[in-house]
Amino acid sequence: MRFVDEYRNKELIMAVAEKLKTVSKREIVLMEVCGGHTMAIQRFGLHALLPPTVKLISGPGCPVCVSSQHFIDKAMALSRLEDVIITTYGDLIRVPGSTTSLEKERANGSDIRIIYSVLEALEIAKNNPGKRIVFLGIGFETTAPATAAAIVQAKKAHLTNFFVLSAHKVMPPVMKALVEEGVTLHGFLAPGHVSAITGTSIYNDLASVYGLGVVVAGFEPADMMQAVLMLVEQIEAGTPMVEVQYQRVVQLEGNKMAQQVLQEVFELRDDQWRGLGNIPLSGLKIKNAYASFDAEWEFEVMVPESSEPKGCICGLILRGLKTPLDCPLFGKKCTPVDPVGACMVSGEGTCATYYKYRV
């Protein structure tokens, strides 16, 4: 596959790893905040290639994992309504809510459909005029524009039975929150596809105010190693800044069209991040102009008090303070077959990837 295979070349990756060893002197901690990066690190065994001076930890990059228990429970409650068809991306299907999961509700007869593109939900709405179609909007700035575009299309088509339950979130506030909380960090590997949409100025404060290096990284192993090298070089030179490794996809100003559509449909609100609590202005809420597509307006469902699963340290893991290996439930009570917390269910979750790729 073009633009993929060449960045998996073993010789190139080893070359970067070796250069890293010669350049890295100080002990530093870097964090990646993207489920795609978490997976890539584990899949390609990148930890083994880093010098002992560089510690790379995983932060809250998995959109499924950080969706609050309350959101999941609300989705379950909606799924039980007779006339509702739930449409969702794949991973949400097995995430455990307080008492059940979408997969279990589907077994009980709820109409829950996995889709690849939110536009399929529009099709389903058009084909099922007697039903109300609810799309579960999870994801960061890479995915939220697609939801926004779908809502705009829904308005154009005068659809009255398409709704979005938004749990969309944005990255920069949580990155700042982690730093302000005192997590020891010297730099961030910034998410390549989020940045393709937003552009790179969203990270400026991290460098100028907090003195952290930020390198926007691609997802192939050579990309990530090169990004780590760039971060190390910045930190060694004492010149933290925002740089782009993923030049073939990321433009400094991002995708203006996608940004426009996002701003047209969504506005910022305070939001609950599982394990991290409330983070101001970190969530995306549908604007009033499009309220007729907002599931929160359309549906009034009573959701029982949400409870976090007992013993689950997802929150600490999402903050990068602990790893799955520190969790007493990991691999024993909590496995991909029988997950306790969201970090184990989502394919991108830190615990799921640790489990899948442990050697």
């Binding site: 993929v4 070359a15 991306y89 536009l119 393709a196």
Partner: protein
Amino acid sequence: MCLAIPAKVISVEGVSAVVSIEDVEYTASLLLLPDVEPGDFIMLHAGFAIEKVDPEEAALTMQLLLDMEKHRPEFN
């Protein structure tokens, strides 16, 4: 949820484009990226083209990596 993957634009019809990854074809939405032409490469994410892949930048990145490979200290 899936990562974005590079795909080649085969044809464009209004706000959609037929793209292909190896021999798998998909009709992607161009609502977020209207200006594409057959032959372009785009990143496909959740059914949408979200950004173009710039072959010149890709070549530059590749060159940096190749240079590092050339200057590897000889390891036994």
